[in-house]
């Protein structure tokens, strides 16, 4: 199987769909002549021209709203948020229009739209440029929200996103654009609403999404090697629709769960996972569900503070030990 970077895999899905479907267009800041600030769209302007690769001024509310209008009129726009931090300027359009148009038009309108860009922190961009928005966008009915972490999934889920007749919030693991993985050739859409079992195990379920999945996988290997504990790792990857089945099945088997996320704990994805488990797998639990989240502060700049603001290996390990009733 070919090996490619997350960046290449993501781009290959968009190129394939643009080749296949004339209604697909792209909008965003510096995606054309500049090549994209994260080089996701490098070369596409030359390939598809200015009518399909639309460079915009810094006007997130305007161009995201216009993309919704394009979608209402038969196009399939892909909007690049240079980073998701700027989507707050477009949040009114996303939440008030994209998410609800289908509903309040009584089913007359479709909005086949993808909004994509890097999400999450870890590179010292400090308070205004560091957010993990899974919980935020996941809150709104009418949106689909995904968060792929492997090159394989970013391609497969982008294919699904572009073909979906609904607005899709596509949260990329910005810190992982350069990471490599196996990606099948050709057309393999990864359906939404299915979590991925990234590692099988019987003793404890470690549940994460985004770049924390890789961290959790490392910890699972460590637990196996040093303590003989076989952890199951679940990569949620689809935030809405939410795959309840895979989580419940895993916890019914392992009887213990730790949920890890970069975002803040209050009103978050981990809260949702923990609530689901206690509602539907209460009798299977041998320990309270643990949550490991970002610290309840805006993201700091200084390296040491930023590291301390996000879940660490030690915190996850400690949480696993608590759930396993092992000495910490």
């Amino acid at each position: 199987m070919p090996v490619m970077t997350y960046r290449e895999a993501l781009k290959s899905a968009m190129v394939a769909e643009m080749e296949r479907d004339e209604s697909v267009v792209m909008l965003g800041e510096d995606i054309g002549i500049y090549g994209g600030t994260h080089l996701i769209t490098d070369g596409l302007f030359e390939r598809f021209g200015p009518k399909r690769i639309i460079d915009t001024p810094i006007a997130e509310g305007g161009f995201t709203g216009a993309a919704i209008g394009m979608a209402m009129a038969g196009l399939r726009p892909i909007v690049e948020m240079m980073t998701w931090n700027f989507s707050f300027l477009a949040a009114d359009q996303i939440i008030q229009n994209a998410a609800k148009l289908r509903y309040f038009s009584g089913g007359q309108v479709t909005v086949p739209l993808v909004i994509r860009g890097p999400n999450g922190g870890g590179v010292q961009l400090s308070a205004q440029h560091t957010h993990s928005l899974e919980g935020f966008y996941g809150h709104f009915p009418g949106l689909k929200v995904v968060s792929p972490v492997t090159p394989h999934d970013v391609k497969g889920m982008m294919l699904t996103a572009i073909r979906d007749p609904n607005p899709v919030i596509f949260l990329e693991a910005g810190a992982l654009y350069g990471t490599k993985g196996e990606v099948p050739e050709g057309d393999f859409a990864v359906p939404f609403g299915e979590a991925r079992v990234a590692r099988e195990g019987r003793d404890i379920s470690l549940i994460a999404y985004g770049r924390q999945v890789n961290m959790v996988l490392k910890i699972a290997d460590k637990l196996a090697a040093e303590e003989g504990v076989e952890a199951e790792v679940i990569d949620l990857r689809s935030i809405r629709p939410f795959d309840e089945g895979t989580i419940l099945e895993s916890v019914r088997k392992t009887n213990r769960a730790v949920v890890v996320q970069e975002q803040w704990r209050y009103y978050s994805v981990a809260s949702e996972v923990a609530a689901l488990i206690q509602e539907q797998a209460f009798d299977h639990l041998d320990a309270p569900v643990e949550r490991v989240s970002g610290e309840e502060v805006p993201a700091p700049y200084a390296r040491n503070l930023e590291v301390a603001a996000f879940p660490s290996e030690q915190q996850i390990l400690d949480a696993a030990h608590r759930a396993l009733y092992r000495k910490v």
Binding site: E29, D30, I33, Y34, G35, T37, D55, P57, I58, A59, E60, G61, G62, N85, F86, F88, L89, V123, Q124, L125, S126, A127, Q128, H129, E295, E296, V297, P298, P300, Y301, A302, R303, N304, L305, A308, A309
Partner: protein, 352 residues
């Protein structure tokens, strides 16, 4: 230091007149003029050092430097009085240095150290020095514009005659925050309740997007017409022109309590961010042409022509500035990281 040796004799003569006339009108003595040169040189060397240490991995995140635009903030902040306020976006190092922040504390902030201007919590994009009149340092394009307008209202509400210097980029003028806030400024200014001085730093690009590729109406100053805010343009590479303009318009805003806008035509001589290596959006030729009008070289020529300084004197000023910057880097390097307890402080203010 890039210079403008190519400037013709005739041009130099007019510029010399310009310098002398402007300095006289502003009451600037020779020492003050040399001081302004020193400030611009300090900014340039500071930014060079920041980019260098960024490449060495000592500065993280984003780093946007001011090289090429020195004359704008140097000129406008020369008209800044105690009690005035300045607010800008993320290209903010120069503003801090000019307002009197300690270069050591500014560099330490870029290094993410506990001795930094905001304790290492904000980094390059979020410089604040409230005691000296710097109200940030913002990372979201356009997001600070309404704040400046609101501060201006508050000043007049309390009866002060302070002016708010509100810096914004050419890229920031196409979003809602600008249009909504400019409208408010015009509206409140009608009643003398909005002493905002909009300083639009048109450095020709918002990242890789030129002004012409961002709007069909490229006269950016004229955009203020929509909100009944009077405006003018100034050559932002020419410190003397900026000084003259800044004094005049600042006084006017102070007297009337009405907003005013100046579009400073300037140029970013380096990449948008220190981590950007591609400049596909502009030609080397274009950069070279602008470099001939490097604001520091231009001012140097004027000082020499007017006999305010000689080569040796300018050299001494540059050496002095270099020492300050070296010392700032050393200080930042040797400073400790912020204590971990700082992670949880400053989230909320305590009740008084």
């Amino acid at each position: 230091m890039a210079t403008t040796q190519r400037a013709g004799k005739k041009q130099r003569q007019t510029e010399q007149d310009g310098l002398t006339a402007v300095a006289e009108a502003l009451g600037f003595d020779e020492e003050t003029l040399r001081g302004l040169y020193r400030k611009m040189v300090l900014i340039r060397l500071f930014e060079d050092a920041a980019q260098r240490t960024f490449r060495q991995g000592k500065i993280g995140g984003y780093l946007h430097v001011y090289s090429g635009q020195e004359a704008v903030a140097t000129g406008f902040l020369a008209a800044f009085q105690e009690g005035d306020r300045a607010i800008t976006a993320y290209r903010d190092h120069a503003h801090a240095l000019l307002l009197g922040s300690d270069p050591k504390a500014v560099m330490a902030e870029l290094f993410g150290r506990g001795t930094g201007l905001v304790k290492g919590k904000g980094g390059s994009m979020h410089l604040f020095d409230v005691a000296n009149g710097l109200w940030g340092g913002y990372g979201i394009v356009g997001g600070h514009i309404p704040l400046g307008v609101g501060m201006a209202y508050a000043e007049r509400y309390w009866g002060s005659d302070a002016v708010v210097q509100l810096y914004l980029g050419d890229g920031a003028i196409h979003n809602a925050a600008y249009h909504e806030a400019a409208n408010l400024a015009g509206l409140w200014g009608r009643d003398g309740l909005n002493p905002t001085l909009f300083i639009l730093e048109n450095n020709q690009y918002g990242m890789g997007t030129s002004v012409e590729r961002a709007t069909a109406m490229t006269d950016l100053a004229a955009k203020f017409d929509s909100y009944a805010i009077e405006h003018e343009k100034v050559d932002g590479m020419d410190l003397v022109a900026v000084l003259a303009c800044a004094q005049r318009v600042t006084e006017r805003v102070r007297e009337t309590g009405k907003p005013y806008a100046v579009e400073a035509l300037t140029y970013r001589l380096v990449a948008h961010g220190a981590g950007d290596f591609f400049e596909k959006y502009r030609t080397k030729e274009e950069v070279r042409t602008w470099r001939e009008r490097d604001p520091i070289g231009l001012f140097e020529q004027k000082l020499l022509a007017a006999g305010v300084a000689d080569e040796q004197g300018l050299g001494a000023i540059r050496d002095e500035a270099k020492q300050i910057v070296d010392e700032a880097v050393r200080f930042a390097d040797e400073s400790p990281e912020p204590p971990l307890e700082e992670l949880h402080t400053d989230v909320y203010a305590d009740a008084e």
